[in-house]
Amino acid sequence: MLRLIAGFIGKKAIRLLTLLAAVSVISFALVNASPVDPVQAYIGADVMRVGPEQRAEIAAYWGLDRPFPERFLKWANALLHGDMGTSMIYREPVVKVIGERFLSSVWLMALAWTFSGVIGFAAGIAAAMRKDSWIDRLIKGFCYTLASTPAFWIGLLLMMLFSVWLGWLPVGLSVPAGVLADEVILLDRLRHLILPAVTLSVAGIAPIALHTRQKLADVLESDYILFARARGVSGLALIRRHGLRNIALPALTLQFASFGELFGGAVLAEQVFSYPGLGQATVEAGLRGDVPLLMGLVLCSTLFVFTGNTLADFLYRIVDPRMRAGKGMIR
């Protein structure tokens, strides 16, 4: 068992290294091919006050006059030492910006992830237990509609309903405006977290619900369920004893594998509610041409998605007793 896990981790570590290397080469090359002039982006509004000599000096200071491979190697070398450069818009090291932003994003994403998982799983079970009834149709129709709804539009609707119309929840930001950082209490943070988290989780419900419904419907048609029914087990006890064990792991795997969509959804939800997280930083970096921050965020999001996929793989390969037994037999 331990050897199995060690092998798994070793393989994944190698994969991660090659993946990060590839993503950094590709995104560096992309940015390099961009028609956006970094010197121009840096100068911004001071165009009139900066002469051509000064431009050349800035370019030389940043090493922009060097050939592409040399610049890449220099950047990669700094990256390996944990230095991602300095963000142009925040005037702080990229690592620090990402670290701070990650802390507020991770709460949002974790909450939304849990919400969507629990609600989707429950809805899937309800639909499968009453297959082809009105409740199944309702849940299915709801999921199909959700799957084609733009996430940010849901955010706008929720904001209109709960913030503008009913006035129950704040419109945006992660803390109340005009309050000192020490005086912000946990309740305030939670209140600001609710709407973005609900927006983000609504987008994630559909896949997990449809998947769970399908899996459980398959399980319910199997012989062992027929036998269990014949013994007189029925209703929730049947699902709990024979259904859940079979569907929990695939559902969890799917949920971990959806980290990519989660991150994408977080970008949109954070933008709608001006929630200061990683997603909003990504948009800002893209809009205002902050290349170091953008590169850092691309790598960071890749790492995030990789973590999710690896956990999904881990559950699938190692935690699932059937897969483990299968491996043992092959040996």
């Binding site: 992309l30 609707l157 994408g264």
Partner: protein
């Protein structure tokens, strides 16, 4: 005649008319095509008078004269919505079509060009799938300097991997079919096999893949435009309309956001249904997915 009779008989049992998959597909396809035609024709016929600024008619709630209301410059929201949808659908079509083409070429190349090419392409697919779509779109839109070009290229370059994987699996399976093996022994070139033997077989897959990609492409176009990295603010794209409406929501002008978003939802949903129905017809094995 017989079919109608049977349908009626079936319908009488449950009280609801029950149609089989083919009829439902036909209905959903014709419905979606009608929707598309209405949007496209509407945006052509409407002209631009609805988009003109008329300050006397500012901030009007929905009424018979302006079904979707008007915005803070007195522009008619119905014409803006229809025009925006037409634009979004065009970009989505372009992006999804190119993505499908890339997926077909990549999938076929992986299956026919030997082990090394297969490894390379599979690895490329893995890499592309491990960066969130939206982050990649933001990066590409930034690199292209924004605008419609950036969005279209971004959608093209981010949506192909999952379909390419399907095409590759399908093509690899075909490569070991007898008729392909015979053809190879007869000395046919790889190009010939790919274009004559494999391509016709993966045609339906590509069509379905395209229809499944299309809704994603439209949604991603709207999202990236909403974030401010897509279309220029002068174009009446749905994303632009929604992001502008955000500034006016706190004044209670709900119609600015509700109707354009609902229009987008309807268009995407219609195409998603076609994709789902056609997939069931071409691939009965996936019926229960």
């Amino acid at each position: 005649m017989i079919r109608r009779h049977m349908l009626q008989a079936a319908g009488m049992n449950t009280g609801i008319p029950r149609w089989n998959g083919r009829i439902r597909t036909a209905i959903s396809v014709s419905g979606a095509i009608a929707l598309l035609a209405v949007i496209m024709l509407g945006s052509r016929l409407m002209g631009s008078e609805g988009l003109a600024v008329s300050l006397e008619e500012r901030n009007m709630a929905p009424s018979p004269a302006h079904l979707f209301g008007t915005d803070w410059l007195g522009r008619d929201m119905l014409s803006r919505t229809v025009k925006g949808l037409a634009l979004s659908i065009q970009v989505g079509l372009l992006g999804a079509a190119c993505s499908t083409l890339i997926a077909a070429v990549m999938g076929l190349a992986a299956a026919t060009l030997g082990r090394a090419a297969d490894r390379c392409i599979s690895w490329l697919i893995d890499v592309s799938l491990s960066v969130p779509h939206l982050v990649m779109l933001i990066l590409i839109a930034f690199v292209c300097g924004g605008g419609m070009k950036g969005v279209a290229i971004g959608i093209m370059l981010t949506h192909w991997p999952s379909l390419a994987r399907v095409v590759r699996a399908e093509a690899l399976q075909l490569m070991s079919a007898d008729f392909v093996l015979v053809s190879r022994k007869l000395g046919r070139s790889r190009m010939w096999i790919a274009s004559r033997h494999l391509a016709p077989h993966i045609g339906p897959q590509l069509l379905v893949g395209f229809l499944m990609l299309f809704p994603h492409a439209v949604l991603h176009e709207a999202a990236i435009t909403f974030l401010g990295l897509g279309m220029s603010p002068h174009q009446p794209a749905i994303g632009i309309i929604l992001s502008e409406s955000m500034r006016y929501l706190s004044t209670g002008m709900w119609w600015l956001a509700v109707f354009p978003g609902a229009g987008l939802l309807l268009a995407v949903w219609a195409f998603d249904r076609i994709g789902g129905h056609l997939r069931r017809l071409t691939d009965p094995g996936s019926v229960r997915l």
